[in-house]
Symmetry: C2
Subunit: 465 residues, 2 copies
């Protein structure tokens, strides 16, 4: 790569090459994983460029193509798998300034990829609408980053995941070719670039459906036993008439020990269910909770005083990977897993794994709709001791029928389905013939013969440079 020539070609654009700032903008939240922390801590790009328009992006792409400089596209860097980290150096493409809301319609919104999700909702809410789903990093994450590297989150209890047809309407994508093309993808074509970490195209615009915007009431329901909490959360998820946007169950002692701002509502060792409930559903929610028994509603934001609410984070910032984040703040030695407990015996599987691991792996479940059924996805806390034990814990989950989406790997395949995604690979061949987009993240491109059935971890050779 010829960086000097590149810089000349980029004259007039916002280019940053101060090594400290570049390094800072080359990082994401990979450090939730002790494995990735060790592997990626030194990763840095060579320069960060912040385009203001799609035309800027076309110019950058052409120049990088000519000078063989890799491009790693970055939203807000809130991902957890190093997906926004430039393993082979080169140019970090910071989309922060492509943040306009372009068009709001009944049922959908079209925005630039760098728009922050909470900022999008601020505009759509004027029409009584909001995004269907968002990660717990709602207030900082970009929608492009979410689509390129996320899978679901708050709202998935109603709408499933980003992989589901209908949760993305269209994407506008710039290819990495000598003459870059601008593609408009819809329908099944969306899977070419969604959740591909920007390895085969640069998403510049996004159209997604909207849901009705409501006043969501944050509710905490405390239980003495985790499995009671899980049964209750699952039953609430199956209540068709009670509209919620978030249902999670977190095993004791995690809530009391890690949810410091909410500690006053909790007793040590209690397990907690976290909810966002539509305000008009609160009567029904309370009626069902009373009927179920066992749990007690220890906090609801609609009856809390203004004084009380000050300084309390919203419930979605206790959930998904914010649970882990709050844990890491209290105890930097912990880490986490990503587990699917498949329907229909998801609760039994949770119970069995809870018995097997006890406090070494305190449960954290996020209830979601998955292929039409309510089930739970887990982000359990792991009291990390060694890589070997971490691997063993994951193996035991899989042996018990619970697939792991390994958050201790930086490649698409190892963090996902552990197999080549033929659609994404074929599109990379077409859209990024030189392999310059986010190198090192798609094993199928880097090492077509890689054996996913071996226990070997893929190590991107470029990382050693």
């Amino acid at each position: 790569m010829d960086l000097d020539a590149l810089k000349m070609d980029l004259e007039g654009l916002e280019v940053e090459d101060n090594p400290q700032i570049v390094k800072q903008k080359s990082r994401d939240f990979f450090w939730y994983s002790p494995v990735l922390k060790r592997q990626l801590d030194d990763v840095a790009g060579d320069l960060v460029v912040t385009p203001s328009s799609e035309d800027d992006i076309l110019r950058i792409v052409k120049a990088c193509y000519e000078h063989d400089v890799p491009i790693t596209t970055r939203g807000a860097g809130t991902g957890n798998y190093g997906q926004a980290m430039p393993l082979a150096g080169g140019l970090v493409l910071n989309l922060a300034k492509l943040n306009k809301v372009l068009e709001i319609k009944t049922g959908s919104v079209r925005v630039q990829a760098g728009a922050i999700m909470a900022a999008i909702d601020e505009e759509t809410r004027a029409t009584g609408q909001e995004l269907r789903m968002h990660p717990s990093t709602y207030r900082t994450a970009t929608i492009g980053g979410f689509i390129a590297g996320g899978s679901g989150g708050v709202g998935s209890i109603n709408w499933g995941g980003l992989r589901d047809l209908g949760n993305i309407i269209s994407l506008r994508v710039v290819t990495m070719e000598e003459e870059p093309r601008i593609l408009h993808l819809t329908g099944t074509d969306l899977q070419k670039v969604s959740h591909a970490y920007g390895t085969n195209g640069i998403i510049t615009e996004v159209e997604v459906p909207l849901a009705a915007a409501y006043d969501w009431v944050d509710v905490l329901v405390a239980f003495n036993g985790f499995i009671d909490a899980v049964h209750y959360a699952d039953a609430m998820g199956n209540q068709d008439g009670i509209l919620t946007k978030e249902i999670a169950a977190v095993a004791g002692p995690v809530p009391y020990e890690y949810f410091l701002r909410h500690q006053k509502y909790l007793k040590k060792d209690q397990s907690v269910c976290l909810f966002m409930v539509a305000s008009f559903a609160m009567d029904a929610f309370m009626a069902f909770t009373e009927q179920f028994g066992k749990g007690s509603v220890v906090f609801r934001s609609d009856t809390a005083t203004e004084e009380e609410m000050k300084g309390l984070p919203p419930v979605y910032e206790l959930a998904w990977n914010h649970t882990t984040l709050r844990g890491l703040r209290v105890d930097p030695s912990i880490t986490y897993l990503q587990v699917l407990y498949p329907f229909p015996d998801h609760v039994e599987k949770v119970a069995k794994l809870t018995r097997l691991f006890g406090d070494e792996v305190p449960g954290h479940l996020e209830f979601v709709r998955f292929d039409g059924k309510i089930t739970c996805f887990g982000l359990p806390i792991v009291r990390y001791t060694s890589d070997d034990r971490l691997e063993e814990i994951m193996r035991i989950h899989e042996e018990n029928g619970c697939p792991i989406f390994n958050p201790h790997r930086y490649t698409l395949e190892e963090g996902g389905m552990k197999q080549t995604d033929a659609v994404q690979l074929a599109f990379k061949k077409e859209a990024d013939p030189k392999g310059l987009l986010n190198p090192g993240k798609m094993i199928a491109w880097e090492d077509p013969d890689f054996d996913f059935n071996s226990d070997r971890m893929f190590l991107f050779p470029g990382l050693a440079r």
Copy 2:
């Protein structure tokens, strides 16, 4: 009952006692059932009173209580089980003039019970909202009648049924006592009077949740085989990201023979899936349909010409009991059933019963969310030959694990769970001590010793009068 004294007490109210008009206003759509047609064809009240306010209702209730005159409350009379028919004569309380939309909030609406559902939506749509669910008689049915005598309908694919907590927020109810009370019911108390046919209280106001209002696209997808159509409809129902409001599957030859206005889109003997799809979900809907294969989209309202749309009923008027209605118009000898095919093997159950009955019972499935899962509820057409055979057909369904909600009975219990509803009975004892509200419909009140396990049909003695 002292009708003359009653009439004097009602002076100044809108009272109708012309026998022909009274008889007409004493009927509902009971005649879908040949059994009910025979039993109820002569039923008529003695007078119809149309109150303009809740105060009028209080006056009517007091007077009827004093003179021992039964009250049968009536919405638009679109029910199918004689629920609005005065089996013991007396006063028919016509709520048509209590039809005001009282308050529209974000997420809910409060209305008078006699408001017509389509008329409610006309007002709520100005706020981007609409009712969660409605029967196929949306354009004529009242919301009070739906709650007192319905169970679900269009929209139940998303929200389940009226029985589910959260689908009714509150009800205002007048009791039938010497000093009538006005009760405001919420939470689990709602089950006291919802789906009780007005036997234990007069619902005067209703608060229900609203959903986001969208342009729903009517779509017909034709299949050569019914079971392929069923698999497809079920799979579409399980697509979490594709927003639909209605999913039905109707076996050939019903669509071609009975959906006369849509006949030009269909081939003889084809089975058809009926959909209402959110306009912004059409790309995803078409992508999934193509991926599934087998079916062809033969009609979609968003690409039809204005000319073509003229005279075509909306898809919801092909679905639910409008399928039966259209059948009866072509062939008055048919009738229908109401069947639940329980999850998870609902499709297999449908396939088995389809094999068993062939064209004697052409399938008609309405997909719904039920306890959190997508399953189907059936309203199959029955080529009626005799009561005995009808009973046998129902028995065979139940022997195959598919509960029947018998639409050939006028009592709550026989059309429902075939057991006493202790909550509704207890509330009737409290709210209607003289048993004057809609006599003959609650067996538990009329004949506490009735044996639901006998094959005996309950016959209300009052009917013989």
